[in-house]
């Protein structure tokens, strides 16, 4: 048995906490007990639902907003309601689409990968692009996300339909974003009118203004005119995981996955551990 840790680490200042206005806010630690003063260490951590490698359910803003981010999702479970059999040692198909900096995986590539994969009834699916490594995330900062490969909407729809057909429940990827960065960060860090220098995320003045521009709600926080690839997938899934790392260490086409988010009562998203078992 070989265990492979696919989890993005958590550290203050990590790029994933600095690049978007709302959905992922900065990681911040306060050492309220420290070695010199107290002889021991205790840390207060400010995280977010999308810190590190997150797992997100359709009602991502739960418990305060139980509305799913896409209408009519296939599943309605919150984090603590996901059956444990879905999270522990669940059969998973690896879907290989090698994608480099800025590449948007298209429908043809997705179709070819689905044809080549050993994707069976009930499997979870792990889309491996090769982008996710800890070293790259440490070195690139926010560019790790800005330049991430991603999934074009039509490719996402194709995969989502296949997942429904095969009764597949969880989607994971080592892309830092599922949506193309130009869609996800539209008129924030990319798009027709990106903000320079890049503002801090919520609760910055700029993030609050963006909220105003969006009509006062980020329940459906999608500023781009293009449809959401992530939205296509989360509608058909119990949950989606992204920003995984080290998937290149997986040698088999089929693995078992351990997927363990924090057990937040009525929670919608949290930092998660992803471990592959071969």
């Amino acid at each position: 048995m070989k265990l492979i840790d696919l989890t993005m680490p958590v550290w203050p200042g990590a790029g994933y906490g600095e690049i978007l206005p709302f959905t992922n806010t900065p990681v911040d630690f306060v050492e309220y007990m420290d070695y010199a003063k107290n002889g021991m260490r205790q840390t207060r951590m400010k995280l977010n639902g999308e810190t590190g490698s997150p797992l997100m359910v359709p009602a991502q803003h739960a418990p305060f907003d139980m509305n799913p981010i896409q209408k009519n999702p296939r599943f309605h479970w919150t984090l603590d309601e996901i059956p444990i059999e879905e999270l522990v040692l669940h059969d998973t198909a690896v879907l290989d689409i090698s994608a480099g900096e800025g590449h948007e995986i298209n429908a043809d590539e997705m179709a070819a990968a689905l044809k080549a994969a050993d994707f069976r009834e009930g499997d979870h699916v792990l889309l491996r692009s090769g982008w996710g490594t800890i070293e790259r995330a440490y070195e690139m900062g926010i560019d790790y996300l800005r330049k991430s490969p991603s999934v074009h909407y039509e490719a996402a729809v194709l995969l989502a339909d296949k997942m429904e057909e095969l009764n597949s429940h969880i989607f994971m990827t080592d892309c830092a974003f599922v949506n193309p960065p130009r869609v996800q960060g539209y008129n924030w860090f990319l798009g027709d009118a990106p903000l320079t220098p890049l503002p801090k995320p919520w609760p910055s003045a700029e993030a609050r203004e963006r909220l105003l521009d969006m009509g006062g709600s980020y329940a459906y926080a999608h500023a781009s005119k293009e449809p959401s690839s992530y939205g296509a997938l989360i509608r058909k899934a119990i949950g989606c995981g992204k920003c995984l790392v080290n998937c290149g260490q997986i040698t088999e086409r089929r693995i078992k996955m351990i997927i363990l988010p924090l057990k937040i009562k009525n929670g919608g998203a949290s930092s998660c551990r992803f471990v592959a078992v071969e």
Partner: protein, 258 residues
């Protein structure tokens, strides 16, 4: 195979472990609040504590360095000591339990007292922490020796507190009435400002005895009562904190042949 979740839920309405100033308040700020997100302490709920949490062992392994095999699907033996409310587990009780515990070399050890099955973690008030059974120092030292001989470096338990910080923390904090909130209440900040390493060494002698033997500890498990020792494996899944010394975690028992 059968899976059992042994994790205390993280409830934004109320957490049973926020009794002492060394705990941080867990909350999920509403989405339009400036603190939007997840705020928690490194030992909120069910948590993994490394020896590096203590100054004497700060040069030792940190969370991101713990090899995955030490935490995921690790074979585990159960050490049974049924304990009553507020009971201090003695050296002789530990000795009797060790004598009948079948632990293979390198196994993790799960100390099961029954405290996590009584439902106190789901009731309001401070009973879950303040009435937890706990280890005496001689019992902890005996357990540390036993685990070292078994080449075991992972101890899991359903105790809310492993030791009993009654030299300074309990008498001083409990003298405040009504009891103040955990960190970052003003009272907790003032209290910790005056809480010296010498006080911590006295209060956390049991935890230090385990840390001295290189033992990682997981506390506040629930629902352990039906676990069978035969072919038991545990998954301890902490937040993957760079250079962290302790973290909230999810713990799953895997029973049966893999």
């Amino acid at each position: 195979m059968e899976y059992k979740d042994l994790t205390l839920p993280l409830d934004h309405n109320w957490m049973p472990d926020e009794v002492l100033p060394v705990a941080a308040h867990f909350y999920l700020a509403p989405k339009y609040h400036p603190d939007k997100g997840i705020i928690l302490g490194s030992e909120t709920g069910t948590c993994l504590t490394l020896p590096a949490a203590f100054a004497d062992f700060r040069e030792t392994t940190r969370l991101h360095e713990v090899t995955i095999e030490k935490l995921f699907l690790r074979a585990t033996a159960i050490l049974d000591i049924a304990a009553e409310e507020s009971q201090e587990i003695t050296e002789s009780e530990m000795k009797r339990a060790i004598e009948v515990c079948k632990v293979a070399r390198g196994n993790a050890v799960l100390l099961r007292t029954g405290w996590g099955d009584r439902g106190t973690h789901a009731k309001p008030g401070s009973q879950y922490i303040m009435a937890s059974p706990h280890l005496s120092l001689p019992a902890a030292e005996l357990l540390a020796t036993f685990m070292a001989e078994s080449e075991s470096d992972l101890l899991l338990t359903d105790l809310a507190l492993i030791g009993w910080p009654d030299k300074h923390l309990f008498p001083e904090w409990n003298s405040l009435f009504p009891r103040p909130g955990p960190w970052p209440s003003t009272e907790a900040q003032v209290y910790l400002h005056l809480y010296t390493p010498q006080k911590a060494k006295a209060d956390f002698a049991v935890e230090l005895a385990l840390a001295r033997s290189g033992i990682m500890t997981v506390k506040r498990l629930i629902h352990c009562k039906d676990l069978l020792s035969d072919r038991l494996r545990v998954i301890v899944s902490p937040l993957h904190i760079v250079r962290g010394a302790s973290a909230t975690c999810r713990v799953i028992a895997v029973e049966g042949a893999m």
